[in-house]
Amino acid sequence: MPDAQFPPQRRASAHWSLEIGNWELVIRPPAPMTFLNLLLLGGMAAAAIPVLLHFFNRSRPRVVPWGAMHLLDAALQAHTRRIKFEQLLLLLVRCLIPVLLALCMARPVLTGMRALLGGAKTSLVILLDDSYSMSAGAGAASNFAQAKDAAAKLIEQAGSGSDVAVVLMGGTPRQLLEAPTLDTVRVTKALTQLEANFGAANFPEALELAANVAAQMQHGLKEFVVLSDFQKASFSDGEAAARGRALQTLKRLPVPPRVTFLHVGTESRDNVAVESLDLPKLALGVNQPLQVRATLRNFGERAWPDLRVYFRADGRERGAQQIALAPGEQRQVLFTHAFDAAGFHTLEVHTDADALKADNSLAAVVTVWEKLPALLVNGDPNPEPLKGETDYLDLALSPALKAATGGSDLILTRVIAPGDLTPDALSKSRVVVLANVRQLADAQVAALAGFVANGGGLLVFPGNRVNTDWYHRTLRAAGLLPLPFTALAGGLEDGKPRAKIVVQSFTHPAMELFNDARNGNLADAEMKLWFQLGKRQEQADPGLASLAQLSNADPFLVEKKLGEGRIIQCAVPCDADWGNLPVRPVFVPLMQRLVIYLASQAQPPRNVVVGKPLAAFVSRTHVGRKAHFTAPDGTRHDAEITGRGALGYVEFTKTGRPGTYTLAAPDGGATPFVVSTARAESDLRQLTEPERKTLAESLQATLLTSVADYQQMDKDRRFGREVWKPLLWAVLALCFSELLLVQWFARRKGGKT
């Protein structure tokens, strides 16, 4: 063997040699293979046995003096080639049997990937599902405990030198530690202290985050292991598009990672959840009855014949109901309550059901208003009763005060002349109504735009005095008019066409009330004269929302957003000059709804799901100072107040735990927020095995069911795969083939061997 071909050090280790005199027998495994019992490869020499036996038999033949040579010669001529072939085939099979047996006993290990992976360190990213469905199961047996255990094993196996990152998939995906680390002990420690999140698993976002994290990691080889219960709600086909995008992100990595799905935990389907709370979308006044519609669903297969549902307001139990929930059934429970004080109030619907507590209750914060100040800008004042432009509106918005019925109005109106529309007046109002105002000064328009942008509401009524040109050029240019007043339609004279409001199924929050005819019939009102609002293409603006339209298809009420606030534009005036709407009973609830709706938009939502940020507006004077959020566990967190328009803005993102968070502004005002778990997680059904397989295939991932499987796979990839089993099967198959061949040949020859 020339030494030049094989470096000495390699020769010393990569082959087994036997020197016999001047001869050297060298057994060298092929490059992608190694052997655990290399010496047993010597058994391959047994391949020579059939050959030796053949020659031995030939060397000691029986000698028969034979007469019928001509018969024998004819047989030899006709069959020698075929018989030689058969003999060679048998010899080959018989030689292969000891060769494969020796190979099998030498325990060969395929190491095709070894050069790539053997000693190579990898970057391991574990995508750990900490959604609250993982809490199913009790204590150490919970799915989450199993997942943590699996993650710890994976990290332990990653070995020294490999960097590890754990991405938590529940709620808003985030990393367990702030950055990937080589310190596996630290990761393991953090894992043991980890508790299940209360959000839903967000796999696509987690995958994107993992891809970003992986890009920062040290090693070229990246392993992604997804540890999850593969809950149907989180991994359904609906997420396919998002997963596709995430996959593209993965593919953009310099070396695309290998993704493995590891299913952990068992499926527990017993779960009852308060699925949703249906709260009024409009601002609520003091003592105004609040209807809370709670939807409960039984996701499990167990029937709950007498499930008690409790209603709590500000922590005190205010009502309870008993319902029966069949498996898979969904039912609604209605609670009514009136708050006797203005401010923020929490309410909660709670039920005593299964062990997965997080979704057994659902809470919300409602704002109860003492008054909603509305500024009515009267463009056509008249001292005679009900002749002024805003007289009907004023009466409709505060009927109790005006009719002196002794009740309490939620809306507090103040009628002013156009000239009195000052920033000061605006600052004391939540809604401004422009009623037949001819035009405003530029400064007033700017102040009004700022007012709306910061969350105020604007309601615009036309009339005979409006300067449509100014409205179009100035007010619309400032974003304060959804559509221009293009032309008048109809006519005050008899015989002219009339228009009515089309009664349909309204979806707009301000109009939903009129889906119930008992709350007033909009079709009662008849318009003689009205403004056509914009042209067709202007009406098609996607930023516009049509609240209602007239019977001739002209818009009646349109809405547009500006900054944090909204503007609603009406096609008719709010007095009775152009039609009879103001004298119809439906006028009062319609106007109240519109104004309350506009006043309700000022604040960001106070009921969010876990993982979503909490946000609030505070006075601009606090910008630069700190506000404090108190979490449900009592911990206080500081939050910077930043400027946003005319207001200060504060945000808090660490909302991983459901419960009530309280914002304490520097001026001492406290604002509660309720963070609830995502109800999608309540459906504990998991993907079936074939579904998981399909999912894995769609992401070109490997699907495994245990850490042991992963370890085996990883071992195979790193250190090769032992192949003695297939070899043993091959030996058995060869033995069997030999038997069959012998019998077959013998049958053809009609002789015995």
């Binding site: 033949p61 007469g67 040579m69 053809r748």
Partner: protein, 298 residues
């Protein structure tokens, strides 16, 4: 009841060295098993009629003459008109094959020839002998005298197989030498070119000879029972051999043998030649029976 002929197996007779004793035992053993002895003699050639005298056998009366003339005449046969049989004994190399525990085919043929000669001479038939391999070794013309048996047996005793076979050529050569027509009894394995052999047999038939062939084979040649690697050395061609694993070729060999036998049988049938296959472990009696059947048919 056990019969003497039952014990006359070739293996038993192999122990007896004296051919005459063998021949006697075979023939007598054979005849003692028959109900009707053919020993009274057969008339092969009619000679003349003579007047019946008292004491003549009634069965020898010629009833046809009696019918025509109303006189008793006896049919008489002349000695020289007896059957002329010639034994053609193949002494080629292939006849020296002997399976395990069995006599060589040549020995079997010699003993059979001796038995037949003895039997025929007992019947006062003329018996001749031709021994041959590739050419005629010895030709003893047929005689019917009793001392002629000794001549034949001496020749048979000294016969040793060896050399190649060319039956066709030998037979062609023989035809002109056997001028008087008679019965030719061939004792051979018939190995060789079957077409040539059949041509030669046809030649004999053309010369109006009756023919009876005893094809003498060893059991091994019929069954080819060899299993281990074997070196088959030719008995006829010195130095020629075939080294094979016989189990592999058994089917092909038997196939060839069957074809050969079929060809031979058909050819013989075509030329009205009786072909009797004898295996060396078969009693000679069967061969004698075949001969006598043939003899009676004349």
């Amino acid at each position: 009841m056990a019969h003497v002929s039952d014990f006359l197996t070739p293996a038993e007779l192999q122990k007896v060295a004296n051919l005459q004793v063998v021949a006697q035992r075979v023939v007598e053993g054979f005849f003692s098993g028959l109900h009707k002895s053919p020993h009274k003699g057969f008339s092969v050639e009619f000679a003349q009629h003579r007047q019946y005298v008292q004491g003549d056998e009634i069965r020898r009366l010629d009833w046809k003459v009696f019918g025509k003339t109303d006189r008793y005449y006896i049919r008489e046969y002349e000695e020289e008109t007896n059957l002329r049989a010639t034994l053609l004994l193949d002494l080629s190399g292939s006849m020296s094959y002997a399976g395990a525990g069995r006599a060589p085919k040549a020995d079997y043929a010699i003993r059979l020839a001796a038995a037949l000669a003895y039997l025929m001479l007992q019947q006062r038939d003329s018996v001749g002998l031709v021994t041959f391999d590739t050419k005629i070794r010895r030709y003893i013309p047929p005689r019917s005298s009793v001392p002629h048996l000794r001549v034949l047996l001496d020749e048979l005793q000294s016969a040793k197989p060896g050399g190649e076979t060319a039956l066709g050529n030998v037979f062609h050569d023989l035809v002109p030498r056997i001028q008087r027509r008679g019965l030719l009894i061939v004792l051979s394995d018939c190995f060789g070119d079957s077409k040539e052999l059949l041509k030669a047999l046809a030649h004999f038939r053309h010369a109006r000879h009756e023919m009876l062939i005893f094809q003498i084979l060893d059991r091994d040649e019929l069954e080819f029972p060899f299993t281990h690697w074997t070196r088959f050395e030719s008995l006829e061609e010195a130095g020629a051999h075939r080294m094979i694993d016989p189990a592999q070729f058994r089917a092909a060999y038997l196939d060839n043998l069957k074809k050969f036998q079929d060809e031979l049988t058909k050819g013989c049938h075509r030329h009205h030649i009786d072909l009797v296959q004898m295996v060396t472990d078969q009693p000679y009696a069967e061969a004698l029976a075949q001969y006598l059947t043939r003899r009676l048919a004349r």
